[in-house]
């Protein structure tokens, strides 16, 4: 199971990198979304995958899943949700103001030699 997850994470990172290297701003944002998905899956996998056990710390539980990675993912998901929402709004505003979503045309600083 961990091996399979490693491949899934690898594919997510790969697609994220590909998307982030493209010129369109929207694709870049989708890329950051995939990148954080990959990172979240990685936390889950790194905590060790167990089938059919609840994350409970009972005294006599025969087996339980580690609850910490789940707590971490929850936090990380909320944060990446917030950042992605902000990024999307910013992209829209930048598109309105700059008239382009092409990263090639957003280079340089005006008024500066």
């Amino acid at each position: 199971m961990e091996i399979l997850m490693a491949f899934v994470i690898g594919i997510l990172f790969m697609s994220a990198t590909y998307l982030m290297l493209s010129k369109s701003l929207l694709r870049i944002i989708v890329g950051t979304g995939l990148l954080s998905h990959g990172a979240h899956m990685l936390i889950l996998t790194m905590g060790g995958l167990k089938k059919g056990a609840a994350p409970l710390l009972g005294e006599n539980a025969p087996s339980y899943t580690d609850p910490i990675p789940q707590a971490l993912i929850l936090t990380a998901i909320v944060i990446s949700f917030g950042v992605t929402a902000f990024f999307l709004v910013l992209a829209y505003r930048a598109y309105q103001e700059l008239g382009t979503d092409n990263m090639d045309r957003m280079r340089g600083t005006e008024g500066n030699d």
Binding site: M20, I28, G38, G47, I79, A94, L98, T109, N112
Partner: protein, 497 residues
């Protein structure tokens, strides 16, 4: 159980929330923000005294005991940095009153400002690696808002790049924490240190080195070290002066603090590869920063490149890992926060007067604004580390530590860089302040006197920090003691170990 050390985080948080509701009433916002940051300064000063008297303070949040819950830890280094942050925040705040403009004030400038301080103080105080990530994100979120507030074309364009870089580095941070968790099975920093010691038995396994380098990349991106500083000159160029001062004085220093913390607490067992790498990157940062600072003819750019030089000097001291060099690094870190804030605020006044940051178009300012000129001159000398001003002691100790650790080349380059720093900042002084005075459009509207209050106070602090280093030294050396001997930190947090 002492709840004292959460106050520097809690006060700006509550203030920030309050300010959201008072958004349209500017005077009320100013008063609330000003008073709360004075209170924050008082409490952080008391915290420093407490740490001095009683050693490291810890707080187990919600009374979950140390390795299991989130622990806040205030050792001398973090207490001093929190105090410096509070002072700089207050001064940037009063500078903002006369320079930031009504439009920004009405659109949650002060709220975002306070949330930024929450993140910075939290990152300095937390003793939990994932909590550090969370405070990083709090700080970054606020910095996105501050960077883009105003919505000029340059700001929008640079914000996109800044956010993209930081999203990637946050993802790397999560990945690094995940790897670390899979190896050591804990998130408490002191506990991680113990577990790594147990796992390594002399030489740490290769995976620890990989994690160390990952952390270096993550924090290096925030702290702007050599190959990873590429985003900084562009992004920091966009926002107005007080925001720039906050970013330049605080944000990069959080990255530097995190590198220092992780490299002295987690990865100190086998310094062969990781600290060599850190030392190499520190030297390269100094060189790259010096090249940038000399090459540009733009007052903002020159000071921004000086941040990179300072980061290099501080991290060189950390990489040498002797008590002397660590003392020097902390000394220099605090000096640099104060003096960079002062320089950015002064540069902000110059830009407000001249309407441009291009040095070719500015001259003769000292004639009409002698106060501004002299303040700039003193802070320039302090930046370069002319004795007895504040940069001197720190650099002296860093170089001494470098020689002790037999990094002769590195220490030599740190020394050489001081000269070039002096040259780069004197270039600003000679071109901007000497020469024939010019008339600038709209300069009469600039409240130079009021705007000078904050930088003058900062420069006075910097002068006292240098002249009175005898009185500051015991505090700094206590901080370095904890860094050089991680057992002190571990014992304070985990008690039973």
């Amino acid at each position: 159980m002492i709840n004292f050390l959460i106050l520097p985080i809690l006060i700006p948080l509550v203030t920030g929330v309050l300010l959201i509701f008072a958004a349209k009433r500017i005077m009320l916002q100013r008063w609330i923000a000003g008073i709360s940051s004075v209170i924050a300064i008082i409490f952080s000063a008391l915290l420093v005294q407490k740490v001095r008297a009683r050693g490291i303070q810890t707080l187990d949040v919600s009374s979950w005991e140390a390795p299991f819950g989130i622990t806040l830890v205030s050792d001398m280094m973090s207490a001093l940095l929190v105090l410096t942050t509070s002072i700089i925040a207050f001064l940037c705040l009063i500078y903002s009153f006369w320079s930031i403009g009504e439009a920004r004030e009405k659109f949650y400038y002060y709220a975002a400002f306070n949330f930024l301080i929450v993140g910075v103080n939290g990152a300095f105080t937390t003793g939990d690696i994932f909590n550090l990530f969370v405070f990083f994100e709090v700080m970054l979120m606020a910095s996105y808002v501050l960077l883009v507030l105003g919505g000029k074309k340059a700001q929008l364009r640079e914000s996109i790049k800044y956010i993209l870089v930081n999203v990637i580095s946050s993802a790397l941070f999560v990945i690094a924490v995940a790897y670390l968790y899979s190896v050591v099975g804990t998130l408490n920093m002191a506990h991680i240190s113990v577990r790594i010691s147990e796992a390594s038995q002399g030489t740490p396994p290769g995976i620890i080195t990989v994690i160390a380098v990952l952390f270096l990349i993550v924090f290096g991106l925030k702290g702007a070290i050599f190959p990873l500083y590429f985003w900084m000159p562009g992004s920091y160029y966009a926002p107005p002066a007080p925001v720039l001062a906050l970013f330049g004085a605080l944000l990069t220093k959080v990255g530097v603090y995190s590198i220092t913390r992780t490299y002295t607490l987690f990865f100190y067992h086998d310094t062969g590869f990781t600290h060599q790498l850190l030392s190499f990157l520190a030297i390269m940062s100094i060189i790259a920063g010096v090249i940038g600072a000399i090459a540009y003819w733009d007052i903002k750019k020159i000071i921004i490149y000086n941040i990179i030089i300072a980061v290099g000097a501080i991290l060189f001291g950390v990489s040498a890992m002797t008590t002397d060099s660590l003392t020097g690094s902390i000394f220099y870190l605090i000096h640099d926060m104060i003096i960079k804030a002062a320089l950015f605020l002064l540069a902000g006044i110059v830009i407000a007067i001249a309407g441009t940051s291009n040095l070719h178009k500015i001259s003769g300012l000292i004639k009409r604004y002698p106060g501004l000129g002299w303040t700039f001159f003193i802070s320039a000398l302090a930046l370069a580390g002319i004795p007895p001003l504040s940069g001197f002691v720190g650099k002296l100790l860093i170089v001494k530590g470098g020689f002790e650790a037999e990094h002769y080349w590195g220490a030599g380059i740190v020394l050489m860089s001081s000269l070039l720093v002096l040259f780069s900042i004197m270039k600003v002084f000679i071109n901007g302040f000497w020469g024939t005075p010019r008339a600038y459009k709209g300069e009469d509207k600039v409240p130079v006197g009021k705007m000078l209050i904050a930088p003058v106070i900062l420069v006075i602090i910097a002068v006292f920090y240098g002249v009175g280093s005898e009185y500051v030294y015991p505090y700094i050396s206590q901080a370095a003691e904890t860094l050089a001997n991680p057992e002190i930190y571990i014992e304070a947090v985990l008690k039973e170990y």
